[in-house]
Symmetry: C2
């Protein structure tokens, strides 16, 4: 690349730091953007600037929104006494796409991890305990990933909550459209243990 | 996702249009950027805006630069009588990374393609012919991809150039570090045909 194209090089370096992109795909993406700079590069830069200016974490639940409170925490219709605890904003969005949950969320911001030295105070766990009386919570649904760290975190939170509220977790079983032959043994035995009358 | 997060949704939609990213990886990239918005999102937006404002095609060769002439065309030291013809700016960058070529380039902007109805006038082929006398060109190196369309285009250009200049093309053979067992038959026979004394 030419010496004068420092701006383009800087852009490629930054794009390469995004998850899912490496140096080569960042280069390809930047070239594509430059070719369509009227349609893509300018509007994308503006969209990013807008999000950079407005996006912030909800002080209550950790979701991303544009005000102190996110859309969900600001909406009284969603104060139904249920809080769904998720690891990450991406998981919150996944739950919302499911359109099945009508309550509020609590985003932990990660999982407990001995290896990475992540303790309860590094996550939004104390804040979760604070929310229970104020929002009159009846049920905490632990929607954490079915990984070792996710389940460790779920057990820790369940311990902390004690008998003050009902604590539930997502069902484990065969995913919709899943073929038994392609599922791991753990999922099949979990689905068998939790079998239900037809 | 919340209704108020239209800006974030718009950003995800735009990112998903980049090559190499789909809706899911765009979402992941945007969340990552929002988490590091001070370090990544703001600077990335600025870098994009800078490139959107300054990047343009060189009127001479089709490379991307910041002025009417790109860095290479503006540099008299590179007027060595050689022009390397490439399909795309990405290929020009790849050649420059090789640091072996000291002349100028000519970016066609694609290849001839009967299927996609791309003819000579849709590429920068007439402009290439115009450049030959003015830049006192002695050799045109066809560095087109070794695909059917790339080689068709190379033959067409070689025909157009006729005997006015020396026309060469990149050698075909075993790539550095390549293992014969993993190479296709065509490459092996090309390498054998072009064998050289050791």
């Amino acid at each position: 690349m030419n010496d004068s194209n420092r701006d383009i090089e800087a852009l490629i370096d930054m794009m390469a730091r995004l998850p899912g992109l490496g140096p080569r795909s960042a280069r390809r993406a930047v070239l594509h953007m430059i070719k369509k700079r009227g349609l893509l590069l300018g509007p994308l830069a503006e969209a990013m600037q807008r999000v950079a200016d407005t996006a912030r974490e909800c002080v209550n639940c950790g979701n991303i929104g544009t005000g102190d409170l996110c859309e969900i925490c600001a909406n009284n219709a969603r104060a139904n006494g249920q809080i769904c605890v998720v690891e990450d904003v991406a998981d919150l969005w996944a739950m919302e796409r499911g359109k099945a949950f009508k309550g509020r969320y609590h985003v932990l911001g990660g999982t407990l991890s001995a290896l990475d030295a992540v303790g309860p105070d590094d996550l939004r766990i104390p804040r979760l305990l604070d929310r229970l009386p104020g929002e009159d919570v009846k049920e905490v649904i632990l929607a954490l990933n079915a990984t070792v760290d996710g389940q460790t975190t779920a057990h820790y939170i369940a311990d902390q909550l004690g008998d003050s509220v009902t604590v539930t977790s997502l069902a484990q079983g065969v995913p919709i459209g899943g073929e038994l032959d392609y599922l791991d043994d753990g999922t099949i035995s979990a689905a068998l243990r939790s079998r239900r009358t037809f």
